[in-house]
Each structure stands twice: as C-alpha cells, then as structure tokens.
C-alpha cells in the first residue's frame, strides 16, 4: 500500500513533461489569441488540465485534485456561464486588441528579456536548484497537507486557512451584490 519511489521510478518523465508543457503553451497562446471567448475558455481548460497532470508529476496529487475540481470544474464553468450570458456575437466581430497593444507587447517583451537576463546572470552556466536524491512520499501527501492546515501541533497555516474562508465569504457577497439585478 505504500510504494516507495525507489522501487517504482516515474516512467518517461521527459516525454510527459515536454508533451504537457507544449499543450500548456499552445493552450495559453490560444487563450490570448482567439476571437471567440468560448474557444479561449476551452483552451484555458486544456491548459489547466495539463497543469494538473504536471502537479501529479511534481508529487503534489492533492493540489492536482484541487486544480481539477476547483479550477476546471468550478471557475471555468463560471466563466462559461458568464460568456453565455453576455453577448459575444458582437464582441467577436469587433477589433480584438486595444489601442495600447503594441506598447503592451513591448512591455511584455521587456519583462521576458528581464527574466532571461536574470536567468543568465544568476546561473552562469551552473545548474540552479539542483535537487538532492530524495524519496517523495506521494501516498501521504493529502495527510501531510491536512496536517499543515488543520493539525493542532503542526498546523502552522490554520489561521491563514480561516482567513481564506473569510475571503471567500466576502467574495460570495460581493459577487451577489454585483451581479444581482434587484437585491
């Protein structure tokens, strides 16, 4: 019941990583280029699901589950709902990019350049974040996460968790106040 990583190393990691990474990047590009918002949303869902798979490869099954259930199953449904409620017929025929799009692309390019510069100056040809050989206890992941969030002795994020619930409450009320026609 408790397979250690040593006996069962992950198979074909590079294959899956590059495949999923390609799916994510292509999905991301589709998100920001499609005219039709529904197509964008579907592309984003693909990206999110690929990312959930990457979480599994990073030994974070609980985060992957939360990603699927909340992001793909919850938030994106909300997005699709809203897209269907507002008219997109007209929006997809109009100009898609705003006036400052060139400036925006330039700024993004600058940001990309900055990232590359940071990477090249800090790594200096060395391997960054070299990992030690460790076994990741995947089968106890959920319990460990729960320990951080709820446990009496190890639950250092318990307070943050409560704050997060408060944030969600505020968000619910805010969304209702914003979207309801007559309160």
């Amino acid at each position: 019941m408790n397979p250690s990583v040593a006996t069962n190393p992950p198979v074909a990691t590079p294959f899956f990583f590059y495949g999923l990474a390609a799916v994510m990047v292509i999905g991301g590009i589709l998100v920001i280029t499609r005219k039709n918002a529904v197509h964008s949303a579907l592309a984003l869902i693909t990206t999110l699901l690929a990312q959930a798979a990457l979480y599994l490869m990073l030994y974070a099954p609980f985060v992957a589950g939360v990603q699927i259930i909340l992001y793909a199953g919850g938030i994106m449904v909300l997005f699709l709902f809203v897209i269907m409620l507002i008219s997109i017929e007209r929006a997809s025929k109009e100009r898609q990019f705003n006036k400052q799009c060139l400036v925006g692309i330039a700024a993004a390019a600058a940001l990309g350049g900055l990232l590359i510069a940071v990477f090249t100056t800090t790594s200096k040809g060395q391997m960054m974040f070299a990992e030690g050989p460790t076994s990741y206890v995947e089968s106890q992941n959920t319990q460990a996460v729960a320990g951080f969030l709820f446990d009496r002795s190890t639950g250092m994020y318990m307070f943050s968790f409560e704050i997060a619930s408060l944030l969600l409450l505020v968000a619910i009320i805010g969304a209702v106040v914003m979207a309801k026609k007559r309160i």
Partner: protein, 111 residues
C-alpha cells in the same frame, strides 16, 4: 542533452515564466474583459506552477514533510476562485449598464 532529459525544477520555472508572459500579453493587449480575466488566471497558474515546483525542490532539501509550496498553491487557487467570482460579477454589472465587454470603454472615471 542530459540537462534536457533530466527534468529539474528549472524546467518548470521556464515553463512558468512562459505562461506568465503569455498571461501578461493577454492582460495588456486584449479588449474583451472575459479574456483579460482568463489571462489573469493564466498568470496565477504560472505562479502556482512555480510554487509547486519549488515545493518539490524544498522537499528534496528539507525532507518529505516540507510542503509549504503546495499549501501556498492551494491558497492561490482559493484566491483565484474569489477573484473570478467578484470579477465576473463586476463584469455582469458593467455589461448590464453599458452593453459592452470591452475594457477600453470603461472610461467613466478617466477625467
């Protein structure tokens, strides 16, 4: 070639940076508010990917119990849910008043 085949934390960071950039481009250039919001989701996801990748790195250094990155990722997802709900609520209210979903027409407070 070996660096290409051994998937390290760095690979995930590069992927995260790429997604982040895509999200930034989307936010800065698109007119459709819905797509802008989706781009923000892309940015948040890029951050999440970094957090979880770092969590693995942290685990390899501090032992299997060090899952702080994953906890942060969960909080970010919570935040994304709140942001999407409120953002879309505002969008609906805005659409009802102005019958448009374009960001550059949201200029009531400009002057």
């Amino acid at each position: 070639m070996d660096a290409m085949l051994h998937i390290s934390t760095l690979h995930y960071l590069v992927l995260g940076a790429a997604l982040f950039l895509l999200g930034v481009i989307g936010v800065l250039t698109r007119r459709n508010v819905v797509i802008v919001l989706m781009s923000i989701e892309l940015i948040l996801n890029a951050v999440n990917l970094n957090l979880v990748a770092f969590s693995r790195y942290w685990q390899s250094i501090h032992g299997p119990g060090a899952l702080h990155g994953q906890i942060f990722a969960i909080f970010v997802i919570t935040d994304a849910a709140a942001e999407a709900a409120v953002g879309l609520g505002i969008l609906i209210a805005f659409f009802r008043n102005k019958e448009t979903v374009n960001v550059d027409e949201v200029n009531l407070l400009k002057w």
